[in-house]
């Protein structure tokens, strides 16, 4: 029997929450999630090989001492834009034949305040959330503390969301 996820989640809250709002109506067995693990592993390898997770590269970026990160992010945006264009133009389907939809982002002040706060943290830790895990995998075991603290940060946000300007 096909069960929809729609009924158990609140779209408004989720759209504030995450960058990807998954509108898939299909319910899969748990091991289907392994495909995400494969993509994640590739992503992690790229993080390390491209030195995106290097604390030093991030410092160089913010001191305008190297083009490295600008090149990486710029290339990613160009590839992403072409991909998005092709997906929209050709109405590319997911591997399960579902339509891919793009949700327009709504502006709220969180993008300014949260963006600034994230920027401060990015320059200290030399990592955004994904790379923290790759840093841990690269052998910097103490990064587990940073990850725990970041998770605590997301939790505190959730706790005080109502009081924060959006």
């Amino acid at each position: 029997m096909m069960k929809t996820k729609q009924e158990e989640t609140d779209f408004e809250v989720r759209s504030l929450d995450s960058m990807c709002v998954n509108e898939s109506e299909l319910v899969h067995p748990w091991w289907y999630n392994f495909k995400y693990a494969v993509v994640g592993v590739i992503f992690g390898i790229v993080f390390i090989k491209a030195e995106i997770i290097s604390w030093f590269r991030i410092q160089e970026m913010f001191k305008l001492q190297s083009f490295h990160m600008y090149g990486v992010i710029g290339t990613a945006v160009i590839v992403g834009a072409i991909s998005v264009f092709i997906i929209k133009k050709l109405k590319v389907k997911t591997i399960h034949g579902e339509e891919i939809t793009f949700t327009n982002k709504k502006f709220n002040k969180g993008q300014i305040y949260g963006g600034l706060i994230f920027g401060l943290g990015w320059a200290i830790t030399g990592a955004c959330p994904g790379p923290l895990f790759a840093q841990l995998g690269s052998g910097a075991l103490a990064i587990i503390v940073v990850i725990a603290s970041a998770i605590a940060g997301t939790w505190v946000y959730g706790k005080f969301r109502e009081q924060l300007p959006h």
């Binding site: 390390i48 990064i143 725990a148």
Partner: protein
Amino acid sequence: MGGIISTQYLSSPDPVVVHPDLAKDLTQFGITDFSGLVPAQLFSFESLFTLRGLIMMVGGGFLVGFGTRYAGGCTSGHAIMGLSDLQWPSLVATICFMIGGFLMTNLILPYILAL
């Protein structure tokens, strides 16, 4: 897992080349080990018990987690995918990421590193 695989099997023996000006700045603060992807002298269990390490690891991590959720996305969600999809709120967020980063690296971090 990707991190483990690339470090174990795909790493190149050459050290990461750090810009000489950055190396000079960091040396002033006692950071001389440029071998890892993260400076071991800042991010280690020993440094967790120093004020500098505590601020950078716990404080920095907190800002990353809190800011990412507040902004509704991170570098990949806003800067890469958001810009790819021509979402102007993502451009605002990306600009704010960069402002925050420039402020921290150039104005605030030197004081933290000096602790």
